[in-house]
């Protein structure tokens, strides 16, 4: 039985179609329709996993066990889960600050704890969050500024859109080597105002490089609303200027994100070039946790309430119910949606989700901080 869309079409503009139908092609829903029941249930679990990671870290920070800023992905988890689920293990990604769960969700399908998979382990990610030596970057830069050449994850800086030209270079090299890898880059709508965004997407378009640029349009770039950062009705409209497809996905619907991203990914893999996939969503909290209080002032309470109305966990659950993949009884077992960190408890999440993260946190807390002298190391590769 194919998935039915649960989106209220009046809520968001122009889903299910590229921003300019004249550019290339409509999304067909064929990727969405090809998902099995097991796939759908796994994606549902991954939404809990991403949410629990967020909720738990906020709790840990409040308990004083973490330093550094948290950039919450609350309410945006469907974008990460939906975009990563269909990638091949040979594909590359470049997440940014709000995409922390992407590091352990990459290549995680049905095998979260597998260490050989092409994603970071929860132990590595937690070691990074806690600033421990077992972080893949040995805790030399903070939060999401990690990656792995081996696992095909590009390391970001704080300069937004800065990884897109790097991603383009990576797949250019892959093509030279006869590979068919695609790179999926993540950015916010605010990043699309950066010059390097345009330079990089243009370069990718000219060479038809397999670069899928996901725009998580959460309506707010720190304290600036999207209307002051982008003059087109949809951010995906920027694709027109590069002569590439621009898709718009319902960022609250994990299956719609999957469908649009897979359309873009397979378009790229087949040699037809890059795309932009705008995922419409809403930032639940402040830019970072330092901004939570202010964000409640510079944003209208009605806007926040409206933006958080369609929690991706609830949207997914309703789809699964409609499909008959879960019973009403099962649907009521874990109610995590709509709950802030202070309200959510472990009982709101499937036990395997809680156990998985616990294993990462326990590992990280047992991992030492790096030796101080490491601060002076690895400026240059030593000469042969």
């Amino acid at each position: 039985m194919p998935l039915q869309t649960t989106t209220d079409a009046a809520e968001l503009p122009s889903h299910d179609q590229v921003s300019d139908p004249g550019i290339r092609h409509f999304a067909t829903k064929r990727y969405r329709d090809s998902l099995t029941k097991e796939d759908c249930l796994e994606m549902f679990r991954q939404l809990y996993l991403a949410r629990y990671f967020d909720v738990r870290l906020i709790k840990e920070k409040k308990r004083g066990r973490l330093r550094g800023t948290l950039y919450s992905s609350h309410n945006q988890e469907a974008i990460l889960v939906g975009s990563l689920f269909g990638l091949r293990s040979t594909d590359w990604i470049s997440p940014i600050h709000r995409d922390m769960p992407a590091f352990f969700l990459k290549d995680a399908k049905f095998q979260w704890a597998e260490l050989d998979r092409m994603g970071l382990s929860i132990q590595q990610v937690c070691s990074q969050v806690w600033g421990r030596v077992d972080s893949p970057g040995r805790a030399r830069d903070n939060w999401s500024h990690i990656g792995s050449k081996e696992k095909r994850i590009i390391h970001s800086t704080s300069m937004l859109a800065g990884t897109i030209p790097v991603a383009a270079g990576v797949v250019y090299a892959d093509r030279m080597n006869g590979g068919d890898a695609v790179v999926v880059t993540y950015n916010g709508e605010g990043s699309t105002a950066q010059g390097v965004f345009h330079e990089a997407v243009n370069f990718a378009a000219v060479h038809k490089l397999p670069v899928v640029t996901i725009i998580e349009n959460n309506q707010w770039a720190y304290g600036t609303p999207v209307r002051l950062g982008c003059a087109t009705p949809d951010v995906a409209d920027r694709a027109k200027g590069f002569g590439i497809p621009g898709y718009i996905a319902d960022g609250q619907d994990v299956f719609d994100v999957y469908d649009k991203v897979m359309s873009a990914v397979e378009f790229a893999r087949s040699g037809q070039g890059p795309s932009i996939v705008e995922c419409k969503t809403f930032r639940a909290y402040g830019h970072g946790d330092h901004d939570d209080d202010r964000a409640n002032k510079y944003r209208d309470p009605a806007e926040i309430e409206h933006g958080r109305l369609r929690d991706p966990i609830a949207v997914c659950r309703q789809s699964l119910l409609d499909l008959g993949y879960i019973s009403a009884e099962e649907a009521e077992k874990f109610i995590a949606e709509g709950k802030n960190a202070a309200e959510a408890t472990n009982e709101d999440f499937p036990p395997e989700v809680v156990d998985y993260l616990n294993s990462g946190i326990e590992f990280a807390l047992a991992s030492p901080q790096p030796e101080a002298e490491e601060g002076g190391m690895w400026v240059f590769k030593e000469s042969k």
């Binding site: 300069m159 270079g169 030279m176 370069f203 590769k381």
Partner: protein, 337 residues
Amino acid sequence: MAAIASAPVQTKKNYLTALKEAISEEMAGNGDMVCLGEDIGQLGGAFGVTEGLQDSFGTQRVIDMPIAEAAIIGASVGLALNGKTVMAEMQFIDFITCGFDQIVNMMATYHYRTAGEVNLPVVVRGPAGAYGGGALYHSQMNEAWFCNSPGLRVVCPSTPYDAKGLLKAALRDGNPCIFFEIKELYRRSEIAEILPEDDYIVPLGKAAVRREGTDVTLVSYGQNVYHCLQAATELEKLGVSAEVIDIRSLVPLDEETIFASLAKTNRIIVVNEAPMTCGFAGEIVSRVTTKAFDLLDAPPVRITRLDTPVPWVKPLELFVLPSVERIVQSALQTVRY
């Protein structure tokens, strides 16, 4: 007689030809090397450094890029991250500012922030320097910005032999490098020289003593080396023996050669055509005063461009730049101190 007639005639090669040879030889020897830049393909680059390169190695390995320096540098980083060695050309080194973030934040830090997992063999090279009427945006020496960004090699050859040997060394070093070519030297016939037929490199971090002397040390790089050599000739007529050191690479810097010279002369003048404030001349003087203070018999001197942009018309341009005359006068004052 026949054997003599067929012996290859060794011709002198200029600085630009030396660079061309370095790039094409490295491309031939390393199938994983890629070149990218503006107009480097069919045109062969604004100055012709990559002339013929695309015909030899194809459009996939010699990429004509859009006018987008951040994309050029960023793509170079990505290519290197995925196993390639990269030569990226800036059409003029002045234009490197448009790719600045990608250089100092993305590229320079990559090895550091990955705790050594990733190293990036990327050489960003481009024509630099004044004295040619290039005006504000085709005359700069902005090397200090990059010396102040840990993780970058910074190199500036002054001879054809060094241009080829240093570029090859930089391409094999495995670290990102900003390579300053002196465009006024590209086709200067007086400095053309016979280059070795066999493969060679000039190691990074080794200075060259261009002229030996005993009274004062003139330290420089790029085209100011020739101003120093001319000044040394003038000074000799005035009874002053000047030693001329060409540092060739700024990062890493060969302090030992400078200090060894200072041990002989006890006097030092550093000459470069970048602005004085926070420039590399100041760095050299600072190292001398902090590490070799006891060797000094006179205050170290910096001769640099005035703290101005490089103006266009000749009288203005020469007014702000170091000159042979300024070096001679300073040297005379220093030895009389």
